[in-house]
Every structure is written in structure tokens, then in C-alpha cells.
């Protein structure tokens, strides 16, 4: 295996393959879809967490909430109005500040806040809002103070908002389509035009050729995954972990793309196969979209292990321990597929020569 030759082939793929229809579609489609869904459902994934405040006195915290850059703050005239807003999902969380709240905390006395939490709000948003409120209280008091928060959850705690239900679909489209179809079409095209035979006669091995094509898929897929998350402000605190999971997902998609490319006789049969099994790529996203379907069904599909960690990290504030199992299963699937590609590579060489 020569990295120099892989680099040469990779540069050829980017210089000449990037003009292909599939390459362009792989980049444009997720962006268009993301844009359209943003228009329909408002900002996809997660916009800034929204905090409502009902101030019975004249607390500095109210102004701090309104002026904060990290959250969206809204002030309500009464506790009832705030409660209604939370119940409707207009804000993720609402707090009712008692009249003498600032004095109590400055004196270091026990203060009490009533908090309403929208049942459908993201766990990530709740964590951010909780931490923000705690910081603000500490800033006002100048010290750590005991505050008792009486929390009431409003709305359907089991339900997931539609914009969030669509998250796995968008992520899968960004990762899977480019990851699978870019290397698959490139490989099939080389088979059809017999340029693969010409390459196979050079010192470049079939493994190097496959690797270069797979890397193009991994790069396109990862960049698109990152781009979609960035555009939708869905990067949480675990950026390296999130990118790592996107890369793993991209590797799995590209390896599968190479397998498809090896099996497919021509571009027509590749598209027919892709059409026939394409629903399986996105099945976990559809299962997630409809919570009434038993969610364990999603785990049957390999792409579940691509999308679930991404959703977990970006939406639920998940950490490595939350996604480790999925990550290991994903790595296992990738290794199995690489093994299959290795076996197929030898057969492909012979089949190409026989063509």
C-alpha cells in the first residue's frame, strides 16, 4: 500500500470526479432539504434555548436574561402567562422570580424560584438554561447561594417536536447519500469505461484504488455532515466526539458504497439497487420520526448506529459513555464490511480482466 499512489488517485477523483452529477447532488441535496425543512418547521435541529421570565419584583436577572447572547430571553407579565407560554412550547423553560429575590440572594438567604419546563424541550436546552440561571444568580449574589427551585413539567414530556424528529433523516441524507453513491458511481463508471483495467496494470493495487474512492466518499460525507450541523447550529459541547462519530458514519457509508460499486454491473443497475434498498438506509430515521413505532426496530438497521450517536450528542448533550456502545457496534460493522471488500477486490480484478 503506497500512500503516494493513494494521494495521486485521490487527487484525480477530486479533480475529475467532482464534476459528476452524483457528486454535485451529494452536496446540494442535503443543503436544499435542510433549507426547505427550515422554512417549513422553523430553524431545524436546535436554535438557542428559550427562557421565559415572570418577575414579581425588579430583579437584575430579568435584564440579564433578556440581554443574554447565549439564550433567547422573553419577559412575561404574569406567572400565568409564563405558564401558558411554556405549556405551548413558546419557551423551553420559564422561571417566576419572587419580588425580593435579589435581596434574598445578596444576603445569602434561601430563595425560592418556581420553574416551568416544557415537556418536549430538548434535554440539552434544559441543561443550558439551568446552568445559565445558576450563573446569573451567582453573579447577582456575588457568591454561591442556596436557591430552591420548584419545577413543574408542562405539556407532553414523551413527545418529540417535528423539527427534531426530522433531524436523523437530514443527518443520514447528508452522510449516507454522498458516502455511498460517490464512491459507488465512481467505481462503476471506471468498470464500465474499463479504465479500472488500465489502472490495475499500473503499480497501483486494487486496494489503493478502492481506498482512494472510499476516501472521497468519507471526505464528502463528513464535510456534508459537519456543514449540516453547523448550518443548523447543532454542534454541542462535544465537538470532537461529534466529528469523530460523523467520520465513523462516513467510513461505514463509503465502505458500503465500494461494496455496491463492486457488485453493480453498470450505473443503471447501481441506481436500481440503490432505489430498491435505499429505504433501508433511512429506516432508522423513519422509526425515530414516528414514536408510536417500537423504537427497538431502528436498531436492526446498520445506519441506526450512524445517526443515533449524532442525535444523542447534538440534541441530548450526550457524552462518550452515552454513545460508546453504538460506536463500537459501528466500528464492528465497518470492519466486517472492509473484510468483505477485501475478498471482493480479488474477484473484481479477475472479473475485470475477463470482461
Amino acid at each position: 500500500m503506497s500512500l503516494r499512489r493513494v494521494g495521486i488517485l485521490l487527487s484525480k477523483e477530486f479533480r475529475h470526479g467532482s464534476k459528476s452529477f452524483i457528486f454535485i447532488i451529494a452536496i446540494v441535496m442535503p443543503l436544499v432539504l435542510s433549507f426547505v425543512l427550515s422554512m417549513v418547521f422553523g430553524t431545524l435541529f436546535s436554535e438557542k434555548p428559550k427562557l421565559g421570565v415572570s418577575d414579581e419584583g425588579d430583579s437584575q436577572i430579568t435584564q440579564m436574561v433578556i440581554q443574554s447572547d447565549s439564550i433567547i430571553g422573553r419577559e412575561y407579565d404574569s406567572a400565568d402567562a409564563l405558564r401558558n407560554a411554556v405549556e405551548d412550547g413558546a419557551v423551553d423553560m420559564g422561571i417566576v422570580l419572587p419580588a425580593d429575590f435579589d435581596n434574598l440572594v445578596i444576603q445569602g438567604e434561601m430563595a425560592e424560584i418556581t420553574a416551568y419546563v416544557w415537556g418536549e424541550s430538548l434535554a440539552k436546552n434544559r441543561v443550558v438554561l439551568g446552568a445559565t440561571v445558576a450563573n446569573m444568580i451567582r453573579d447577582v449574589a456575588g457568591q454561591e447561594v442556596p436557591v430552591e427551585i420548584a419545577t413543574t413539567t408542562l405539556g407532553d414530556a414523551e413527545s418529540i417536536p417535528w423539527n427534531n424528529r426530522l433531524l436523523p433523516l437530514i443527518v443520514l441524507m447528508a452522510i449516507v447519500f454522498g458516502g455511498i453513491m460517490v464512491p459507488a458511481t465512481s467505481l462503476v463508471d471506471e468498470k464500465q469505461k474499463r479504465t479500472l483495467s488500465a489502472l490495475a496494470i499500473t503499480p497501483a493495487s486494487l486496494g489503493e484504488i478502492f481506498l482512494s474512492k472510499g476516501l472521497v466518499g468519507v471526505i464528502v460525507s463528513t464535510v456534508m455532515g459537519v456543514l449540516i450541523l453547523v448550518l443548523n447550529q447543532a454542534f454541542g459541547a462535544q465537538t470532537p466526539l461529534l466529528i469523530g462519530m460523523l467520520v465513523l458514519g462516513a467510513v461505514m457509508a463509503s465502505t458500503f458504497g465500494i461494496m455496491l460499486g463492486v457488485f453493480a454491473k453498470d450505473v443503471t443497475s447501481l441506481f436500481a439497487t440503490n432505489k430498491a434498498i435505499g429505504i433501508l438506509y433511512y429506516a432508522p430515521a423513519f422509526v425515530y420520526m414516528f414514536p408510536d413505532i417500537p423504537q427497538w426496530i431502528g436498531r436492526i438497521f446498520p445506519t441506526y448506529y450512524v445517526v443515533q450517536p449524532v442525535v444523542e450528542i447534538s440534541q441530548q448533550g450526550g457524552t462518550w459513555s452515552d454513545v460508546a456502545l453504538e460506536a463500537f457496534i459501528l466500528i464492528g460493522l465497518i470492519l466486517i464490511m472492509i473484510g468483505i471488500v477485501g475478498i471482493l477486490a480479488r474477484r473484481t480484478a479477475q472479473r475485470e480482466a475477463l470482461a
Binding site: 495521486i8 484525480k12 474499463r194 489502472l199 496494470i201 503499480p203
Partner: protein, 288 residues
């Protein structure tokens, strides 16, 4: 001549039940041009594919440049050039880009694509996309691509097939230049004149077996029939043909008798072609 560039021993390749190459053995010396002739399906291209490491022999072995091709194909492939029968260029790239890509894969330092393209008569069209090329231009580019690494062995599978006479002559000139440089050339072709003109030796393959392998001269001597063909005036004033077989003790007498008895209008010698010899040996034509 130096050592052997190619040694095939009992080489066999089967497509399922069909034996495409059937226990063939031959050697090609370094710097030699071997013409490999046979009709479609005789096993020519399969032999090339085995010798270039594209196919693994089912039996026997091929030693190319001293290396067992089945064991270390990459090492052999780094030192050979292959011109395929079917065009397989990157059509969206220019000719220059095609050559540079392969030169980089072969690790050729300071590669001059322009000079190589000029050699095959494509000067001035270096930057045109290959898809805009005619068939002949593509074929010449295929030959150029096979030369990017200054190969020690050049495998050419029907390199002049379908070319106009000028393009074909250009390719033949390049082949002879390569031999001059010291390269060995393994040439499969349908064109008997071409094989006769270029090859040091020719091998006939039929139904997977080598049925004859020698210099064109020796093959003609061994299997061919040389004759004198004359046209004489017939008693009614028309023309009649006479044929005198050469290389026989009575040939001289027969010629004397012809000129003594008949009024000879034209006379010329006729030499057996490689195609005649192939038919003579196998009972079938090369274009069948």
C-alpha cells in the same frame, strides 16, 4: 540477444469449461518483437492478460523479466507497458492529463507528456479532451500511455486495428523505435502484413495452443509455397495463366520450357503470406 524477457511454461487458463490457453510454452528474448497471431477467440488476449498479471494462470507459470507474474504482479507491472485492445482512456481528461496521471502512478520523474504525444503524432492536441478525439487518435494515445514508464516489455493488443494507413504506420514506427531502445515487444495482431514486417518471430495460436513459432522467413520456408505466376497468350488470342512451383529441381527446366513454348505476357514471383501458412497449418482462416 540477452536473456529471456518472457518464459511461459505449460501456461493454461480456463474460463469455466472452456480452455482458452492450453498448456502453451514459449520464450521471448529481450529486445525481440514477437508477433502473436490467431483468429478471434484463439487465446491471444487471454495470453496477454495472463502475462501481464491481469489473470492468474490455472496451470503452468509465466516468468516475466525474471519474476513469476502470478506471485508478484505489481513488480512486473511497474516495468511493462500494456496497450489494450479496447479503448480505456479517461475521456473527460485531456491527453496530457491521461499520460501525466499514469506517469505519476508509475513514479516517472520529469515526465515530458508533450514529447511522447509528439512521437505518436498528437502534437498540438495535448490539451484537448480525449472524448473529442477520433478513434485513431485515441488508439495512438493508448500506445503513448503504454510507453510512459519506458517499459522493458511492451504488450500491444491489436494496436493498429481500425487505424487509417498513416496512423498505423506511425504506430509501427514507434514499435520499431521501442525495439531499437531495447524494449521487448509482444504484439498481437490480425494484420499479417504488419506481423510479417515488424516481428522477429511469429507465433500462431489456435484453439488455445501454439501451432507454430518461428521467424516469418522460416515459417514460409517450412509451410509456404513459392511460385512463379505467368500470363501467356492462348491460341485464340486470349490470356491464360501458368504456375510454376519454385524451390524444386525441375523449376529451372519448367521456366525454360515456358519461355520456349509460350508467348509470355507477364510473369511474377509469388510468396506465401502468413495467412496462407496459418490456413495451411490449421485449416482455418485468421479472420474466422
Amino acid at each position: 540477444m540477452a536473456g529471456d524477457a518472457i518464459v511461459a511454461e505449460d501456461l493454461t487458463y480456463r474460463y469455466d469449461e472452456l480452455v482458452a490457453v492450453d498448456h502453451i510454452s514459449f520464450k521471448v528474448a529481450e529486445g525481440e518483437i514477437l508477433g502473436f497471431l490467431g483468429p478471434n477467440g484463439a487465446g491471444k488476449s487471454t495470453t496477454v492478460k495472463v502475462l501481464t498479471g491481469q489473470l492468474q494462470p490455472r496451470e503452468g507459470q509465466a516468468i516475466v523479466l525474471g519474476i513469476d507474474i502470478a506471485r508478484d504482479p505489481e513488480k512486473v507491472q511497474a516495468q511493462i507497458g500494456v496497450c489494450f485492445e479496447i479503448t480505456n482512456l479517461y475521456e473527460k481528461m485531456s491527453a496530457e492529463e491521461n499520460l501525466k496521471l499514469f506517469a505519476r502512478l508509475f513514479g516517472v520523474p520529469r515526465f515530458d507528456a508533450g514529447a511522447l504525444l509528439a512521437r505518436v503524432g498528437l502534437a498540438g492536441r495535448e490539451r484537448d479532451r480525449v472524448e473529442e478525439y477520433s478513434k485513431g487518435m485515441k488508439q495512438r494515445l493508448m500506445v503513448a500511455r503504454a510507453l510512459v514508464n519506458r517499459p522493458r516489455i511492451l504488450f500491444l493488443d491489436e494496436p493498429t486495428d481500425g487505424l487509417d494507413p498513416a496512423s498505423a504506420e506511425n504506430i509501427r514506427k514507434v514499435i520499431l523505435e521501442e525495439r531499437q531502445r531495447g524494449a521487448t515487444v509482444f504484439l498481437t495482431t490480425h494484420d499479417m502484413m504488419e506481423a510479417d514486417k515488424l516481428s522477429d518471430r511469429v507465433g500462431f495460436i489456435n484453439q488455445g495452443k501454439i501451432v507454430a513459432l518461428d521467424t516469418p522467413h522460416n515459417l514460409k520456408q517450412q509451410y509456404g509455397k513459392r511460385a512463379l505466376r505467368a500470363q501467356v497468350t492462348s491460341p485464340d488470342g486470349g490470356l491464360e495463366s501458368r504456375e510454376i512451383t519454385m524451390d524444386k529441381p525441375e523449376t529451372a527446366g519448367a521456366v525454360q520450357e515456358l519461355f520456349g513454348r509460350e508467348k509470355v505476357v507477364t510473369i511474377h514471383s509469388e510468396e506465401a503470406s502468413l495467412e496462407d501458412i496459418f490456413i495451411n497449418i490449421t485449416g482455418r482462416g485468421l479472420t474466422e
